[in-house]
Amino acid sequence: MANLIKSNLYKLFKRKSLYIFSMIYTALSCMSIFILKIADEIRNKTAGASEDMAIKVEGRLSNFNDGLSLGVEFIVNGEALIFLAVFTAMFIAAEFTHGTIKNIASKGFKRKKIYKSIFFSMVVATIIMLGINFIFTTMVGTLVTGSIGIGNIDKLLLFKIIRLVIIEVLLHIAMVSLFVMVTMIFRSSGVAITINLCLLVFGSAYYQFIETIVRYILKTDKELNLINYGIQKNLYLAKATVNGGDIKQPLIVAVVFLITSLIFGTIAFKRSDIR
């Protein structure tokens, strides 16, 4: 297993697209901070001039007084998942396209271990992407707001922020686990990218669809709000944990998605032939 992980990490770090995707994601996030700054300035200039305008440019930046909270915000918003959806599909499907997975499987490594090592390398990719983004958005945020924000934080708040970041990273990893499962099943980058992006874009529609079916089967009008148990929803819900919100739900959602997709993915990979 250690050899599988080592070799996968070697391959991951040699992959240019990991750095390109991280750079694009970070550049876009930093650009967003400047856009928020400009929007904030416009809001301040037009304050009182027109009520409508004031509502339209209700600046997000005004909610963030320092670099640290901006850095955290760009983890919470889940935009990294778009890049991770594409990167995961490209990285894993390449093994099947180039046939290199045959070399690994024919060496007697258990399929379960191969799957786990691939998933682990995607966990590392997720942490790298989020880490680079966090560092740069915090730096740019500090430049824009003039404060890094560490001075204002007491120990308890710092603990809550670290806890939030861990939960958010875990939720990202749970989503990546779904992407890994999809790619290991479909084995084509085109198909996997499409499905992964659909999972992100139409995520809420799937929950509504499942809820309709469940309500039909149970013959009930009671709202189940399944959408509240989706990963993307919990990326936002987790934010409330800093202000005393429920920590259990986002954690459970992350763990359930993670374990379920790992189990299904491994079974599917074990049962199918490698071409």
Binding site: H98, G99, T100, K102, N103, S106, K107, D273, I274
Partner: protein, 308 residues
């Protein structure tokens, strides 16, 4: 020697079967590959060669039958001692030859510093330098794939159509490499191809597969005999001709075959062709034609396939 018994078989399959839908891609194949052999698995495209190799390599699941590697049923463990190259060369196109090998060294727990250079030298890729594998010629890609298969000093190498798409020089280089691996490194090799002529220059043992079934097995010596030159004589009376040749020239057994009532075939001592014709003519047998026949390996292969 393990437990006092020498390991004489590297691969044994018994009634190995794999279905795709209703069609058996591999149908009850029982095959043995002896240690030290170069086993040529020959069959048309789609005959089941690749599926058979994929079953042995653990890339496809069998429906029935048994596989034993190095006389053991613990396949995952034994597969560590196998190198494979199945279909197209499986390499990382964006990595150099060295980086490709480095990756597999990490995977197999081999020291890259000591393993990579000798391996590149063995397959003739020492000069590949920083060129990425995607810019390699097909021959170079094939050699890199073989280098990958050879990492970890496998005792058994399975090569699926390794000469496909290579130019004549590439075919020759590949052939020399395979023979070198077998002779110098004592690696047992299973090599598949759809061209018997090509395999005949390498393999020591042959298995013919058609529609998923193993239809014949023979040694190199048997193949040579089956495809050897012969003298085919058309006469007015084959029975009388046989009698004369037996009595007067002492041609017996396998040496003399009656093909039909007018044709006989002589398979050995062909330097006596003129004497055979003279003797028949002297004894009143009319010779309609007499010619040396060269039995083409491809014809032999096609006849086998047609017969099955």
């Amino acid at each position: 020697m393990i437990g006092g018994f020498s390991m004489s078989y590297v691969l044994q399959t018994s009634n190995l079967t794999r279905y795709f839908g209703r069609k058996a891609a591999v149908n009850e194949v029982s095959l043995n590959v002896k240690k030290g052999d170069i086993y040529g698995l020959i069959g048309r495209n789609g005959a089941g060669k690749t599926t058979f190799i994929r079953l042995v390599a653990g890339l496809a699941k069998k429906n029935r039958g048994e596989i034993r590697l190095f006389e053991s049923g613990d396949l995952n463990k034994q597969r560590r001692k196998i190198g494979t190259m199945i279909e197209t060369p499986a390499i990382y196109p964006n990595l150099t030859a060295k980086q490709n090998l480095h990756y597999y060294c990490l995977l197999l727990g081999i020291d890259p510093v000591t393993a990579i250079e000798p391996m590149l030298s063995l397959v003739g890729l020492s000069e590949a330098g920083k060129k990425k594998a995607k810019h390699f010629s097909l021959g170079m890609k094939q050699r890199l794939a073989i280098a990958i298969a050879l990492l970890g000093d496998p005792e058994f190498l399975m090569l699926d159509e390794p000469m496909n798409g290579l130019d004549p020089t590439g075919v020759r280089e590949m052939r020399e490499l395979i023979l070198k691996l077998n002779k110098e490194k004592k690696i047992t090799i299973l090599i598949s191809s759809h061209i018997l002529g090509e395999l005949s220059k390498i393999a020591t043992y042959y298995g013919v597969i058609n529609n998923g079934k193993l239809i014949d097995e023979f040694t190199l010596q048997e193949l040579k005999e089956k495809c050897a030159k012969s003298l085919e004589i058309s006469v007015d009376d084959a029975e009388r001709a046989v009698e004369i040749l037996r009595t007067n020239l002492g041609i017996f057994g396998d040496e003399l075959i009656v093909l039909d009532s007018n044709t006989i075939r002589i398979t050995k001592n062909l330097h006596r062709a003129a004497l055979v014709n003279t003797e028949l003519a002297r004894n009143g047998v009319s010779i309609l034609s007499s010619q040396m026949i060269n039995h083409d390996m491809e014809d032999f292969f096609l006849k086998l396939i047609m017969k099955s």
